[in-house]
Every structure is written in C-alpha cells, then in structure tokens.
C-alpha cells in the first residue's frame, strides 16, 4: 500500500484557490498583491500564506477576498491596509474587502517553498510529526508554550543549539 504521508496531496479548496489565480482574467491584480507580505513573517506573501483567497474586478471596482489565519488575529487589519495600499499605488482605489471564514484556513495550504522561506527566516514550519530547529535542523526540541509571540505560533527550544524558536502551528 502506498504511504499516504509520502504523497503530498493538495486540499481541494487550495487547488480551487490556485485555479482561481491561474485562470484569472486579471493576473495583474494578483501580481500587485504579491508585493504584500505577512507583517509577522515578512518573507511570505499574503497569497503564499493562503490569506489571499480571491481578487477580481467588476463595475464596482476591485473585490478582495481574504480569510483570517486565526479569528482573533490582530495582524488581519494590517494585512488589509497593506493590500489596499498596494492596490491604491497601482491606481485601484475602489476596493471592497470581504472576510470569508469558510473554507477555514489551514497550514496544509502552505507550499514547500513557503515552508522553506519560513524556516530560513527563523520560524519552524509545520510538517507533520517532526519539528526541526530552524537554526541547526536538530529534531531534539522541547515545547516551552503552546502560544508564542502570536496565536499562530508556539514557542519551542532546541536542545542541540539551545536557541528558542517559534513554530508556525499546524491547524
């Protein structure tokens, strides 16, 4: 029997999101938003994070559909402002933002590329059972707290290099 863990399956809703982008009649809108980073992990774009769900243009202007990582995430306001500012700088000033809760955000949407960028930035990315220290790659780590600097992260310490680090929690 094939080991399901070895075959990275893309969740259906994530496939739908990528298809929306690939088939968008306004690829330039997506490109503009590629300049907007997560304020907490500024190497990951809103699109890579999965927060940017859709963007399209109609007679009422630009419609931006976002989903929060965590319901109470205080960074959502900043993300919305940054996205509006990026669109405004490109001449799109009439922007309606819709917060969509379903499908609920999950770390399963993160690409291997995003996970790599996160680790390089110093935040361990969720990857099933094994948690790796982003500094020295050791897997000898212990949890300090279920909540780190923000709700989406947990605080760990590496027993090999003694460095504390944030883990982007798998949800």
């Amino acid at each position: 029997m094939p080991n399901a863990d070895l075959i990275p399956l893309l969740p259906e809703e994530e496939l739908a999101r990528r298809t929306r982008r690939a088939e968008s009649p306004h690829p330039e809108l997506w490109s503009i938003l590629d300049g907007v980073m997560d304020p907490e992990i500024p190497v990951i774009t809103l699109y890579e994070l999965g927060v940017l769900q859709d963007v399209y243009l109609d007679d009422d202007g630009v419609h931006l559909v976002m989903t929060p990582t965590y319901i109470g995430c205080p960074a959502m306001g900043v993300m919305e402002e940054d996205a509006r500012a990026a669109l405004a700088a490109a001449g799109y000033t009439t922007v309606t933002v819709e917060m969509r809760l379903a499908p609920a955000w999950t770390t399963a949407w993160l690409t291997p590329e995003s996970r790599r960028k996160m680790a390089e930035y110093g935040v361990a990315a969720p990857s099933g059972e094994n948690i790796q220290c982003p500094q020295c790659r050791s897997e000898a780590v212990v949890i300090i707290s279920e909540f780190g600097s923000t709700a989406c992260k947990a605080l760990y310490r590496c027993q090999s290099c003694s460095e504390p680090f944030d883990l982007f929690k798998a949800i």
Binding site: L101, W105, S145
Partner: protein, 252 residues
Amino acid sequence: MSDNAHIAKYVLRLADDALVLGHRLSEWTSRAPFLEEDLALTNVALDFVGRARMYYQYAAELTGGGATEDTFAYTRDAREFSNLLLCELPRGDFAFSVVRQFLYDAFALPFLRELKGSSDQRLAGIAAKAEKESTYHLRRGKEWVLRLGDGTTESHQRMRQALDELWGYTHELFEVDALEEALIAEGIAVDPRTIRDEWQQTVTSVLIQATLPVPESSWSVQGGRTGYHTESLGYLLAELQFMQRAYPGLRW
C-alpha cells in the same frame, strides 16, 4: 418574532459567551504567573474576542436597523446580555481561571464540532474556524489541570476549591429553552444535551488523572441566558463599556 430575530437572539448568546469570557481572560494580561503564560492567555483571549466579533457581526446583519458589533458590545446593559454565568465569574486566582477555562473548553470543542454541521452556513463557517482554536485551548487546559491538580499541596487545594466553586455553574451549559428547542428542530442550533456525556467523560478522566475528586455537589445556578446575572457582570461591563458610555461614538 421573525426567523431572523430568533437566529439573532441565539447568535447573541454565543457572542456574549465569547466576549465575556474573552474579557475575563484578557484581565490576566501582564498578571500571569510567567511570561509565556501571559502570552498564551492573551492569545486565547484574542481568539475569544475574535469569535465574539464574528458572531456580533452576523447578529448585526440579521438585526439590521443600525445595529453593529459595537452597539451590541458597548451599549447593552447587563440585563440584555445573555452569556452563561460561568463565563462572567471574576477571574479569581490562577487555579480558578484554569478550571473555568478547562470546564468551558471541554464543552466548547464538541459544541463547535456540532455547530459546524448547522444548516446555517454562516454559523457553520465560524464554528469550523473556532473549533481548530478550541482544540489547542483544551489541550493546554488539560495540561494545566494535571500540573496543578497533581502538583503541590497548595496547588491541589486551590484546584479543589475552584472546582467546588464552579461546578454548580456547569449545569447551565446544557440548559435548553423554547428558543433553542425551535432552532434545534430547524437544524440551526446545537442541542447541548447531546454532548453532555462527552463533556462529562472528558472532565472526569482528566480530573481523575489530576488526582482531583469530581464534585458531587448538587446545587446549580442559572439565569444568564435570560439576563439574570451575578453582580460581577455589571463591574465587567462598567470597565468594558466605560469609554463608549462616557463619549458615545468615540473612535480611536
């Protein structure tokens, strides 16, 4: 009452639970036993306040007539709040807050799992999101109950006392009135009676592991859903609502 008004009333109950408990949790900010715990409690508080906002926004849309999340949170009096009494009790010592949170999260997790299946798509969406967060909350809560229950003589004693003080407020979690009966029949509301066994089992197994006796006291208090609150809610609202009451419409 129209259908929307019924649903709005139900949604407000869920919103009030989340706001009031979130506020109690937020009172620990800068006062928790150590820094990591301070961050954790603040983050959990944010999860609850975020949840409250989602529910209030939905209730406002159902209500119309200028209602907003803020008018619900800042301009209603204690009698108009419909949160469970368990959520409003003062934060007490750390053991009290740990036990309250554990008893509530052990209820919230199965409740949200059921609400995910609600025929009301908006509620189902909020529940799907909140369920993931509650999984973390409950896991954290269990660890604290074990650590303090099976800890020092003093921590054990404080946990027992908190349990005794809180137990009588847990029955209200499973009360259902005519409004909820009607919404349960429509597949909108969760029937909390169906998750009582699961709650009991979660709570009992953790308490036993934590060497804490399951309270046998038979007293029970209720009234939160119909606006009969303990005096502590008034004090909580005084702090929460002061700015909007003193300077109506004030913006930061």
